[in-house]
């Protein structure tokens, strides 16, 4: 079952159905995991082989839901493209939505491009209700669901997938997928854009899998959208705690939410702190500033002169190296100062330099204080650096 590119898929669809499919393929984001559009595969035709031209009018649609992928068959009839489609719900043979509640089916309008997408969304809502009903096989899991439902922060953004109850062992499993109500809007734009992937919507999803009905085997996992993941420092930037034994979701989910919120705040604060730091250095060193990172405020280069001896000072890696390993821990982590001579070279042809990581520093100082202290340190260290450059470097 290979996935076709949208263009190829559309080219094979019967022309009068293309408008409906176009909306689904290009704009079809449903459910909590809307990072990817809906996919269609297995395009087939309901016409005889004598029908000329593209005549595919039935296909499989892949819908992400609660960490699973639902594969539904959608059946049109090319001879009557105005008629609404029929559905086969794959493995969920017991799922039978109430037709009267599917307004976009009752009032099907093939001329409306988003009609099919809206119908799919309505069916998905009923599917969610169907899955929630199936939680009744386990009182424990039903309790989890009901308790989350009461909380408006989580109740409205929840998807549940209940597995089949094993008639032999009585085992029953379920997965909860929750969208965490964390505000990512203040994350600096540059952090979110610095990714090769289409960032999509900034979202954090918490998946909690219950492998048994008594909640003795619970496996949580946090999914971050690519932009957020990059902004926080990579996939391993955030480690969520294990689900406590005997715990419940209504306690655990807010805990994870708070942890993520703290991390985001830390990143935001770090950005502002760096900006303040750079601004203070600009203020104190004025024309001595050669260049600085005006977007992320992660680097600053100064050209200082002491007794006719010029030296470049690079204040770099206000975020740790490499960026992807750690979050932005400034001002907690001390910036690195690299002194570089403009005259002397090393034997390898590089400018003679020295890196200083320990100098008077406190994360509690504000930017102004840091700039002052840095200035004092420069005055004391540059003579030593000069001596070292003359001794070890060559002109």
């Amino acid at each position: 079952m290979s996935s076709l590119s949208p263009e190829v898929a559309l080219s094979r669809i019967y022309p009068e159905l293309r408008l409906l499919l176009c909306t689904v393929i290009r704009n079809g984001r449903v459910g909590l995991d809307s990072s990817n559009c809906l996919r269609i595969t297995d395009l087939k035709s309901g016409c005889t082989s004598l029908m000329p031209g593209p005549s595919c009018d039935r296909f499989k649609i892949h819908i992400p839901y609660a960490g699973e992928t639902l594969k539904w068959d959608i059946i049109f009839n090319a001879r009557d493209p105005a008629l609404p489609p029929d559905f086969i719900f794959g493995e969920d043979a017991d799922f039978l939505p109430e037709p009267s509640e599917l307004t976009h089916l009752v009032s099907w309008d093939a001329g409306k491009p988003e009609c099919l997408l809206l119908l799919v969304k309505e069916m998905l809502q009923q599917y969610h209700q169907y899955q929630c009903q199936r939680l009744r096989d386990s009182s424990r899991l039903l309790f989890e669901y009901d308790s989350l439902l009461e909380d408006p922060n989580y109740g409205r953004s929840m998807e549940i997938y209940a597995g089949r109850k094993n008639s032999w062992t009585g085992e029953f499993s379920a997965r909860f997928l929750l969208k965490l109500p964390v505000d990512f809007s203040n994350i600096p734009i540059y952090l979110l854009k610095d990714t090769s992937l289409d960032p999509g919507e900034d979202v954090a999803l918490l998946s909690v899998s219950f492998e048994d009905a008594e909640a003795t085997q619970v496996f949580p996992k946090l999914y971050l959208s690519p932009g957020i993941e990059h902004a926080l420092g990579g996939p391993s930037a955030l480690h969520i705690p294990a689900f406590p034994s005997g715990g419940c979701l209504i306690d655990y989910v807010p805990q994870v939410c708070q942890l993520l919120t703290n991390k985001v705040q830390y990143v935001i604060q770090g950005y502002h702190k760096r900006r303040e730091y750079i601004a203070a250095f600009l203020s104190h060193f004025g024309m001595g500033v050669v260049e600085y990172d005006a977007v992320g405020f992660t680097k600053l280069t100064l050209l200082l002169m002491w007794k006719d001896f010029c030296v470049l000072v690079h204040v770099v890696e206000l975020c740790s190296v490499p960026v992807v390993d750690l979050p932005l821990y400034f001002p907690r982590d001390q910036p690195t100062l690299t002194f570089q001579s403009v005259y002397h070279f090393t034997s390898s042809g590089q400018l003679y330099s020295q890196v200083q990581k320990s100098y008077p520093y406190s994360p509690r100082w504000d930017g102004n204080e840091m700039a002052k202290r840095a200035k004092v340190y420069f005055k004391g260290f540059i003579p030593q650096f000069q001596d070292g450059a003359f001794a070890n470097g060559k002109l």
């Binding site: 035709s45 309901g46 082989s49 039935r58 009557d80 086969i88 043979a93 039978l96 009267s100 009752v106």
Partner: protein
Amino acid sequence: MAASISGYTFSSVCYHSANSNSDHEGFLLGEVRQEETLSISDSHIGSSEFLSVIEVHNHEPCAKLFSFYDYAGNINEEDLNRILKDRRKNVIGWYRFRRNTEQQMSFREQVIHKQLTHILGIPDLVFLLFSFISTANSSTHALEYVLFRPNRKFNQRISLSIPNLGNTSQQEYKVSSVPNTSNNYASVIKEHGAEFFDKDGVMKDIRAIFQVYSALQERVQAVCGEVDQSERVREKIQEEVNKLKDEIALRKRNAAEEERTLQEETNAPVTLPDDSALHDPSQSTLTGAVLSSSPLSEPSLERPVNSSSPQLYNTTLPPDSPNAILLPRPQAVGSPGHPSPGLGLGNGDGSSSDSLNRQATGQEDQEDDDDGDSSEYENLVSEQLQPSSGTEAVSLGRPATLWPDGDAHSPPGS
């Protein structure tokens, strides 16, 4: 539950469907009958099973999709009646034809089925799904069909059989039980039927054949009776022959005994047989066999067999006197010297020492096998021809009843 559809109905549905350039649907007409199967096992406990059989006789195709329901699947009963007309009572299910889809009821089909069940009042309404699957290059096409029983748990599937679709050379050609509702057929039969059918509606030829069959059955039954009677007569005669044989053997042994005794008394140099041979029942049996002149593989005794034996036999045994048979020999039944008729004599416990001893010595008494041996019969006849001996031989009969065990033994060959 089982289901069957006649070949012509099935092909008609396929024809309509295959010629449709889209999905196609219609109704199945037929009847449901109950079959009772009574099975009897070795435990003689009979059990009956009831089987519902759905028979599809005809179908009513719909002209187009959504012809009797709306977008939400709500059925319009007026449209339904317009399609079915007066055939509504014959509806047993409905069908759908879809190309290149899963063999599973769809959302709308389930909705419609529930309503049809309720509207038509058929609790066990069935649904027949045809799927036409084609490969990508259209080189292979497969028509698959599944009969669903959606109102049962797990959407039960029923096997649908098509009578005579198969190798009819290996199996019997089945006549369809579909009732013929054609008016034309009925009128033709009515007009020309008298030439072929009798007043009861049965074909005349069939009745004639049945009469022949009955006559043959009667003859066979009669022959069976005759065979039975002749077999009984034969059995009776065989029994008499066996008795006579026993009698002869006994008399011969008695004659030999007497002769020996006489010789001993007269102190005549007589070549007597070995004692072990005399006391060995198998040897005495062999002696009897020699006297009866059946061809033996190994004559173990050197006693001369002469034609005077029958005379001795005759003179020593008084006619028709049980006392003469019961010679004063203090020997128990089954002892080696116990005069044996030669074959199969029991030891009172059902065992036969003769047969055992015969096997032990490695010699077979062919008297057992020579039941109808002509030489034995000739001896008997020669004895009987002698005036006194023949009569006495016949009259002396029934030695078997005189044996202490009371059993009448017959040679194994009889």
